[in-house]
């Protein structure tokens, strides 16, 4: 099922005002309803190598799988949809590619990347994330954060050591507790949510949410929602106007219409015959 006419996608990435190069990577495959954003870390050029590998591996592997399988097919073994397993496996594949590169090539030692990726299918969105790259949702005028960072700061907020207000001014915003490519294996956090036509999903690296208040991001999406490309550029510009101390990347996805997966008898037969 081609989602090109169902999802409107706009992307923008920028090194920011301070950093000399961009360690963020973004990728979108509109036909398959897949978007990936990664914020690389680790010495010198290794960060962009790690994030580039993450986006490339996930997009190419998912494209291959989606050419023959549908995310809403039921796995005969555990009677669950294959979507989550499919996405998880590709994230793990990206993890081991990055980990192996980091192990085998000294200049890449210690590299890793955060990740947030969305797969849209059957009126739903499947989200996998690691680290502090985020997914936000603008629905019916309300703007909220969907993912929860895997970061020291978030853990401190959760355990009540600091309040969300203090967290905004904390010095250690940058310590993530989970990332891709650091350990031989990793468990991405995966959730599924129903989508509605008119929803705008925002995937961003910490370069945006550290520099721009959620409120201002929401206001921008509200005001410029009519022109997604411009909204994406404007968000990056706002981060840069506020200092732009990190690379800034955004992916905006608007759901234009319903996109149910085929549910007819034939589809069931087809799935059963497989």
């Amino acid at each position: 099922m081609d989602l090109t006419q169902t999802l409107e996608i706009a992307t923008c990435t920028d090194p920011g005002m301070v950093r000399s190069h961009n360690e963020d990577s973004i990728a979108a495959d509109p036909a398959n309803g897949l978007v990936v954003l990664a914020d690389g870390m680790g010495g010198y050029n290794a960060g962009e190598v790690a994030s580039g590998m993450a986006t490339t591996v996930i997009v190419t592997e998912m494209r291959q799988i989606l050419a023959s399988a549908r995310p809403y097919e039921i796995d005969q073994k555990n009677h669950q949809e294959i979507a989550a397993r499919m996405l998880r496996e590709q994230v793990l594949k990206a993890n081991s590619s990055i980990y192996q590169a980091a192990q085998s090539q000294p200049q890449y030692a210690g590299m890793g990347t955060t990740l947030v990726t969305c797969l849209f299918y059957d009126n739903r969105v499947l989200v996998a994330h690691l680290g502090d790259s985020r997914l936000y949702l603008m629905r019916e005028g309300k703007f909220r954060q969907v993912t929860r960072d895997h970061s020291l700061l978030q853990e401190q907020i959760d355990s009540g050591i600091i309040t969300a207000e203090q967290a905004k001014r904390a010095a250690h915003k940058n310590l993530v507790t989970k990332a891709l490519g650091i350990d031989p294996t990793v468990e991405p956090e995966i959730h599924e949510y129903p989508t509605k036509p008119g929803d705008i999903y925002l995937l961003c690296s910490d370069g945006l949410c550290d520099m721009v208040d959620d409120e201002d991001i929401g206001m921008t999406l509200q005001a410029l929602g009519g022109n997604l490309k411009m909204a994406a550029q404007h968000l990056v510009q706002m981060a840069n106007d506020n200092g732009g101390r990190d690379n800034v990347s955004v992916i905006l996805v608007r759901v234009l219409r319903e996109y149910p997966g085929p549910r007819g008898v034939m589809a069931k037969m087809f799935a059963w015959l497989k």
Partner: protein, 267 residues
């Protein structure tokens, strides 16, 4: 980032940023810093950089490595240390910013805290090299968290302090919002003619959704108008604007969806 300044007889030859974990110094061409002088050994010394700390180690050179006049085998480099190799001098310059903000800059880089590494570092209580650095960082983080929790303080300066590199430049790099005059628009035609609207928000949209919409953005550099949607673009002083944001000057007249309005700056 720390760097070395190579000089001979007081003449600066070049600056070398310490970007790599290991920066080798020697006479042979494969060294990161090659000094073609017979007083320098083929592999003379190495600088190991871990996070913000740099260590200099002599690699058993014939003539030795001298730091601030003293021969050393291993040395933890401090800001302004001078390394002498024969006639050449290498001055070590640490983070340019003062200690406090240097720490900040370091905190900006995203890093992973691995539970295993955390435990090891804590158990070792300060092993050698990297582990010690991790432990230090860990302690710093805990201190930061604890003090923020205890006193409810926070480093407001972190966000609002001007960047050390560009304190006076009014360019886009300045993180502080410079005091800028407040802009406003007054409608000149249409049903609400005479009405005034102050542009206090970072974004103000104008027009009719689905017909023609423009946005006025308030940025450190001033106000801008940008076309958002609709077949027809807004015009400023009779000129239709392009796709890029158009900078607004005092008393510019904007025409949008058949309504004229004047942009002006409030004193």
């Amino acid at each position: 980032m720390a760097k070395l300044i190579l000089s001979m007889d007081g003449l600066v030859l070049k600056e070398i940023p310490l970007t790599k974990e290991r920066t080798t110094i020697g006479r042979k061409p494969h060294n990161d810093i090659q000094i073609d002088n017979l007083a320098v050994s083929g592999e003379h010394a190495v600088i190991v950089t871990i996070l913000n700390d740099s260590f200099l180690e002599d690699l058993g050179s014939t003539n030795g490595t001298i730091v601030n006049g003293n021969p050393i085998k291993k040395h933890f480099l401090q800001n302004n240390d001078v390394i002498e190799l024969g006639k050449y001098k290498l001055k070590f310059v640490g983070e340019a910013a003062p200690a406090a903000s240097g720490e900040k800059a370091d905190f900006e880089k995203t890093m992973v805290l691995r539970p295993a590494a955390m435990k090891a570092a804590q158990a070792a209580g300060g092993g050698a090299g990297a582990q010690a650095a991790v432990a230090q960082r860990q302690a710093a983080v805990q201190a930061a968290g604890a003090s923020a929790a205890a006193a409810g303080i926070a480093d407001k300066d972190a966000r609002s302090a001007p960047a050390p590199s560009a304190p006076s430049a009014p360019g886009p790099a300045a993180p502080t919002k410079p005091v800028q005059p407040l802009g406003a628009i007054q409608l000149l035609s249409g049903g609400n003619a005479g009405k005034e609207l102050e542009l206090t928000k970072p974004l103000t949209t104008l027009g009719k959704p689905g017909v023609q919409v423009a946005v006025l953005t308030r940025r450190p550099q001033g106000y801008f108008i940008t076309h958002v949607e609709g077949d027809k673009r807004p015009s400023v002083n009779g000129q239709e604007i392009g796709a890029a944001p158009h900078s607004l000057k005092d008393h510019d007249v904007i025409e949008l969806a058949g309504v004229k309005m004047e942009f002006f700056l409030k004193a």
